[in-house]
């Protein structure tokens, strides 16, 4: 394992400290652990937003703390949900009289730990609610599975719910708009090379030189199936077709996110975007805005995910609202 780290057990804390030091006037780390909050607490007339998850997804989620997006991000160990006590500390630190909305990705660990933290906050009379993001179309949504995973689409939930919170909307109203984003956002990802969790020291799966993994999540877990390597356009088409088949995008305006998994050069992401834009045009989907870059990564995995968010007037307005965070500014 070759990594730019100092010690395996210092990875998460040093990463969070480094993030905070990159924006010292805007971010602060709580003493109790790897919890990032805004340097200036939101006023009591607005709802605060809390998210989090395992480390290794940078810039998610700490990079999205700031005006117009999150109030707090709680980082767990690499690819491991943070524990309820740390999430609870985060909730307490940013809670306002209007309450707190937690944005949780649909992974069993994240959901369980956030639910326990929300129980703890409820016991202390903090008004708190949560939404669970499940945008990954690679996974069948049925009663017989844990349901779809929450992946890169989560960033758009941060953006739009964050903008709604800045307007002084109530907890119920913000939850409703977050649910609307969740209902309209779809993602699918793939990998051409795996990633190595520092504490494990070896890759989560192995791929031959001519193999790719389709339908990966964001934790280095194996995907839904393996394929032979194909051209960027063919792979992008496979992912897009699956997304377009899931909900009807025809004639609608969308936000497109071409998300790198960590080790994918921008060169390749742009090659993919070149195809995506043309293909969407042919499919009768209007692109309102495009994001290309690393938003929700899996350490040094090479690969990408595509996300489409179907817009209406409300979502468009909130998407366009200002945001000032280390990883996303508008």
């Amino acid at each position: 394992m070759k990594k730019l780290i100092n010690a395996v057990d210092a990875v998460e804390e040093q990463m969070i400290l480094g993030l905070v030091k990159s924006a010292p006037d805007k971010l602060r780390k709580l003493e109790c652990g790897n919890v990032v909050v805004r340097a200036k607490k939101k006023s009591d007339d607005k709802v605060a937003l809390v998210s989090g998850g395992g480390s290794g997804h940078e810039p998610a989620h700490g990079g999205f703390v700031g005006e117009g997006m999150l109030d707090c991000a709680v980082a767990g160990a690499v690819f491991t949900s943070p524990t309820p006590d740390k999430i609870f500390e985060g909730i307490k630190a940013v809670a306002t009289e209007q309450g707190v909305l937690c944005i949780v990705k649909n992974y069993t660990g994240d959901v369980l730990n956030f639910e326990m933290a929300i129980d703890m906050a409820g016991d202390e009379d903090i008004k708190v609610d949560h939404v669970v993001v499940n945008d990954d179309v690679a996974v069948q949504d049925s009663l017989y599975t844990t349901g779809r995973r929450g992946v890169a689409g989560t960033i758009l939930v941060h953006k739009i719910a964050g903008a709604k919170a800045e307007t002084g909307a109530t907890l119920e109203e913000i939850k409703a708009v977050a649910e609307k984003v969740i209902a309209n956002v779809r993602t699918m990802g793939m990998a051409i090379s795996p990633c190595t969790v520092p504490a494990a020291g070896k890759p989560g799966f192995e791929l031959a030189d001519d193999e790719i993994e389709i339908g990966i999540g964001i934790h280095g877990e194996p995907g839904t199936h393996r394929d032979k390597i194909a051209s960027a356009d063919e792979i992008a088409k496979t992912l897009l077709d699956k997304i377009l088949a899931d909900i009807d995008y025809k004639g609608r305006e969308v936000v497109v996110m071409v998300n790198g998994m960590g080790a994918t050069p921008l060169m390749e992401l742009y090659i993919i975007n070149n195809f995506v834009q043309d293909y969407l045009k042919t499919a009768g989907v209007k692109v309102y805005d495009t994001m290309v870059g690393n938003y929700m990564t899996s350490i040094e995995m090479a690969g990408f995910s595509l996300t489409l968010l179907r817009l209406d007037d409300e979502l468009k307005e909130l998407y366009d609202a200002p945001a000032d965070t280390p990883a996303l500014k508008r």
Partner: protein
């Protein structure tokens, strides 16, 4: 079973999990995200460090302390699940410096129900419940039929080991392995495996003391 034995069991479980850390992680690599051993070992290391502070506590408080330590250090799904299990077992043993066979059965039952409630899972979904539920049934049958705890627990360990084997034959419908669908076939569940280790270790300590 007195507090001294409980503490010895906890200490032995912590050692066992540390020893099996890499194997559990390898199992998780196959069908999950490859951190089960790492996370659980981190949790039981924290438990081990807390053990001296449990010395004069009752069994309920010890088990609750173990649960709290796991919840606050493990993360992932196994932290809340094992944490809840130990906390629920602790509730049953509240204030007791010694527990009977019937208490042991009731504590295991409470632990399993806690896992079912928190994980919204049932038997047959390729989870730790596939080791714990058959073990519980075998232990209860044994105790109700007049066996002593060691003999009943030995039956329970056998049932749990069969349960772990059974997880190889079923598709995961809960947890991260569920995303693999039929690709999860042929692999044993890491959570069921760590549950088996805990039961085995409990039996070993009871036999040797």
């Amino acid at each position: 079973m007195d507090t001294k034995k409980i503490l010895a069991i906890i200490e032995a479980i912590a050692k066992r999990i540390e020893a099996e850390k890499n194997f559990l992680t390898e199992l998780d690599n196959e069908i999950g995200d490859g951190d089960h051993g790492i996370n659980l070992a981190r949790g039981f290391k924290a438990v081990d460090e807390k053990l001296p502070t449990f010395a004069d506590k009752d069994i309920g408080a010890i088990l609750k302390g173990v649960g709290t330590a796991l919840v606050s250090t493990v993360g992932g799904a196994s932290g809340p699940l094992y944490g809840t299990a130990f906390m629920k077992a602790g509730n049953v043993c509240k204030g007791k410096m010694e527990i009977t066979e019937a208490d042991f059965v009731a504590a295991l039952d409470a632990a399993i129900n806690g896992v079912k409630m928190r994980g919204k899972a049932v038997e047959g979904e390729k989870t730790m419940l596939d080791a714990l539920c058959p073990a519980y049934k075998a232990i209860k049958v044994g105790i109700d039929g007049g066996k002593n705890l060691i003999d009943a627990l030995a039956d329970g360990v056998d049932a749990a080991a069969k349960g772990v084997e059974y997880t190889k034959t079923i598709i995961a419908t809960k947890g991260r392995a569920s995303y693999l669908k039929e690709r999860s076939l042929g692999h044993q569940d890491p959570g069921a495996t760590s549950s088996l280790y805990m039961l085995q270790t409990t039996l070993e300590v009871l036999r040797s003391t």
